[in-house]
């Protein structure tokens, strides 16, 4: 155990901090779930890429810095502390990118990774289907091979596709063996969202923005080369991606440390310093965010030493999502009647509250995560 940073890590942190201080926009960008905000965030991603900060954990050849997990966490700490914009590139750089690096063909790596790193191409995910919410294995959208075997012909429907309203490409899993059921016979496929036959219907979320969409597939032709990880292996490829999502990359601790620091500032500014109940509640939140940070450092050390993330990653998902709701509930409690106003000086807290409510619902509801923990970590009998 050594909880101090190496000279190399310190230098990396200093470099990131200096670049961010010089480049982070001084005025917050509009939400990337609006048309205008999406393009502004794309421009910010291009600037990040110029500084070689858009995908720090990727290999250098694809625009990254080969940063190990610890450095990635350090970058995240500096990134969120600097007040930089949210990552519109999340689906690509953090979810699909690592999967392509792991299982993609050389051609796929060359074709997709650089454009992803630059955000020339921004990705939507397309996991869920209307009748397969938390039950991801019951996917029914079909991809059939064309007669000459050169294309998939896709029909069906996806829902809750994040970023799909304005993204360029999407990835998802489709049933390629019509005789199969559940986890078998699924294939992971990539395609441009402007392919003929695709219709995107944006869905307005609680705050009115369109962070996700339905995608309808009507005889959509996709070259067979866009298969990722082999025909019939879609479930395994998706799970690798989703496991990483839940376990590490979806919510890096720095976001919560920064949010709790803002909560503390708010408390100092408008809270009653003699009110122990609020003081204790804010302290609890601080401990949760700090605990989550420590837990993540333990996890990445384990990964660096050759270990694996298993179903324990479900613990993370529950932890951060509940913590995020709680932090925002507390902030609104501090704000009192001001919390009702959504356009004022505290807009960010109200927005953040609404956003936090999605945490326990998406990437597998927390109920599903508890089942996973019980079945696979605690080894309780399946229901």
């Amino acid at each position: 155990m050594d909880l101090t940073e190496t000279a190399d890590e310190q230098a990396f942190r200093a470099e990131a901090r200096a670049w961010l201080e010089a480049n982070v926009p001084s005025v917050p960008l509009p939400s990337f779930d609006t048309a205008e905000g999406f393009e502004l965030h794309r421009q910010w991603e291009a600037k990040l890429y110029e500084g070689r900060w858009s995908a720090v954990s990727w290999p250098v050849e694809y625009g990254g810095r080969d940063a190990d997990y610890v450095k990635w966490l350090i970058f995240e700490e500096e990134y969120w502390r600097s007040g930089a914009p949210g990552r519109v590139s999340q689906n690509g750089i953090f979810l699909l990118g690592p999967t392509i690096i792991e299982v993609g063909t050389p051609e796929q790596k060359a074709r997709f990774l650089p454009a992803m790193a630059k955000s020339d191409e921004i990705w939507a995910q397309a996991w869920s289907e209307p009748d397969a919410g938390s039950d991801m294995a019951s996917i029914r959208s079909k991809a059939a091979l064309s007669d000459d075997g050169s294309e998939w012909i896709i029909n069906g429907q996806k829902i809750w596709a994040s970023r799909a309203a304005w993204a360029d490409w999407c990835f998802g899993i489709f049933r390629t063996d019509p005789e199969s059921s559940r986890h078998k016979g699924l294939t992971f496929i990539l395609m441009p969202l402007d392919t003929p036959g695709i219709t995107v219907r944006p869905i307005a979320q609680l705050d009115g923005d369109t962070g996700f969409a339905e995608i309808f597939f009507d005889d959509v032709h996709v070259p067979i080369e866009n298969t990722l990880g082999g025909v019939g292996n879609g479930w395994g490829v998706a799970m690798a991606t989703a496991g990483f999502e839940r376990g590490v990359s979806l919510r890096s601790p720095a976001r919560f440390n920064v949010a709790v620091d803002r909560l503390i500032k708010l408390w100092i500014k408008i809270g009653d310093p003699d009110d122990d109940t609020m003081r204790d509640a804010v302290t609890d939140l601080w401990m949760q965010a700090e605990g989550y940070r420590l837990h993540t450092y333990m996890t990445v050390t384990k990964l660096l030493e050759g270990g694996h993330i298993g179903s324990e990653s479900s613990l993370n998902k529950i932890f951060w999502s509940e913590m995020d709701v709680r932090a925002h509930e507390l902030a609104l409690q501090l704000l009192g009647p001001d919390a009702e106003r959504i356009d004022g000086p505290h807009e960010r807290w109200v927005d953040g509250f609404l956003f936090s409510l999605s945490g326990p619902l998406y990437a597998g509801t927390n109920e599903i995560q508890r089942n996973i923990i019980a079945d696979r970590v605690l080894n309780l009998p399946r229901g």
């Binding site: 809750w160 609680l206 009115g208 709701v325 409690q333 009647p337 919390a339 009702e340």
Partner: protein, 327 residues
């Protein structure tokens, strides 16, 4: 000792519920949101006609002369339907403060809606439809015609409760009946009853969804996790209920424990609404997170009313002072 409502009181509430189920569905509510109307004028007239709006107004003013006990179930029903506009404000604070004034007749016939900001709020809701705003002045209340104020619209989370900031209040208006504490207790209690109805409605919406929606080959309501989530929320709602009804009795009889009882009611009702909203959303999953899902109309009203008229923690402190002595 008899802790129940008369059959007249129950029947009036049941009649109101039936009317609202028929004539003010979630689609009507969404329409009010989308048009920015602030309330539903036809519904308002209908409520005036039924005597709902003037239940607490003295008969001498053309009202029904009812007590808070006569009124509490009605407010709960209005909450169940999330009726927009200053409805519980007009019925309670409005009736108390404007009794005997020239505005009283307007409250009775539905031509005057009343809103209030008696607790130092920076914003006042409902001014788009309310003709009179009640503001506190030390321990008293002044009634000001909305047209006399300089209002600036701001955006609130609940489109059935539009917000403005206000100025020009220094001298305008007339002092009216009711002291500030009686009126804020009335508003707080009315908000509690409204939240109670709202909470029941959110659980009903979640129940419908849980019976209907299937996952893993079964309706999701058959999963223990969903059952227990909803049972725990119901527990909070059902144990807030008697506190709200008792506070109506305490307000109606001007009991020594009125402040304590009203604060207990608002504190428990706010907490119950928070739990009901969270649980209903969780039962819905992603669908509940959309603008299209009706649940949001009710959740946002709950989130607006939880801090309004004193938050759960404000009112809990008031109970503390009564039960444990002042801090």
């Amino acid at each position: 000792m008899k802790f129940s409502f008369t059959s007249d009181q129950q029947q009036f509430a049941a009649g109101l519920r039936e009317m609202l189920e028929r004539e003010f569905t979630a689609a009507h509510l969404r329409h009010v949101w989308e048009t920015g109307a602030g309330h539903d004028a036809a519904l308002w007239s209908r409520l005036a006609e039924m005597g709902v709006l003037s239940m607490m107004l003295p008969e001498a003013d053309g009202g029904m002369g009812g007590s808070f006990v006569d009124t509490i179930l009605l407010i709960e029903e209005l909450g169940r339907a999330a009726v927009p506009g200053p409805v519980f404000e007009t019925m309670t604070v409005g009736a108390l403060a404007l009794a005997g004034t020239p505005w009283a007749a307007g409250v009775a016939d539905g031509s005057v809606a009343v809103t209030a900001a008696l607790m130092g709020e920076r914003y006042v809701p409902h001014t788009a439809v309310a003709g009179v705003v009640l503001l506190s002045d030390h321990d008293s209340i002044r009634a000001i015609e909305t047209s006399q104020l300089q209002l600036t619209e701001v955006e609130g989370i609940d489109h059935g409760r539009q917000l403005v900031t206000f100025a020009g209040t220094e001298t305008a208006g007339a002092f009216v009946g009711s002291d500030r504490e009686t009126a804020t207790d009335a508003g707080s209690l009315a908000a509690a009853a409204y939240l109670l109805g709202l909470s029941s409605r959110m659980l009903a919406i979640a129940g419908d969804y849980a019976r209907d929606r299937r996952q893993f080959g079964q309706p999701i309501g058959s999963f223990q996790a969903v059952k227990h989530l909803m049972a725990d929320a119901l527990l909070k709602v059902e144990f807030a209920r008697p506190a709200v009804y008792r506070a109506a009795w305490s307000h109606a009889t001007d009991s020594d424990t009125r402040a304590r009882d009203v604060s207990m009611a608002k504190s428990l009702a706010s907490d119950a609404a928070q739990k009901a909203a969270r649980s209903a959303l969780q039962v819905h999953g992603a669908i509940g997170y959309t603008w299209e899902c009706d649940l949001q109309l009710f959740m946002k009203k709950a989130w607006a009313l939880m801090p309004a008229w004193g938050s759960a923690s404000y009112h809990r402190r008031r109970v503390s002072d009564a039960v444990l002595g002042p801090r």
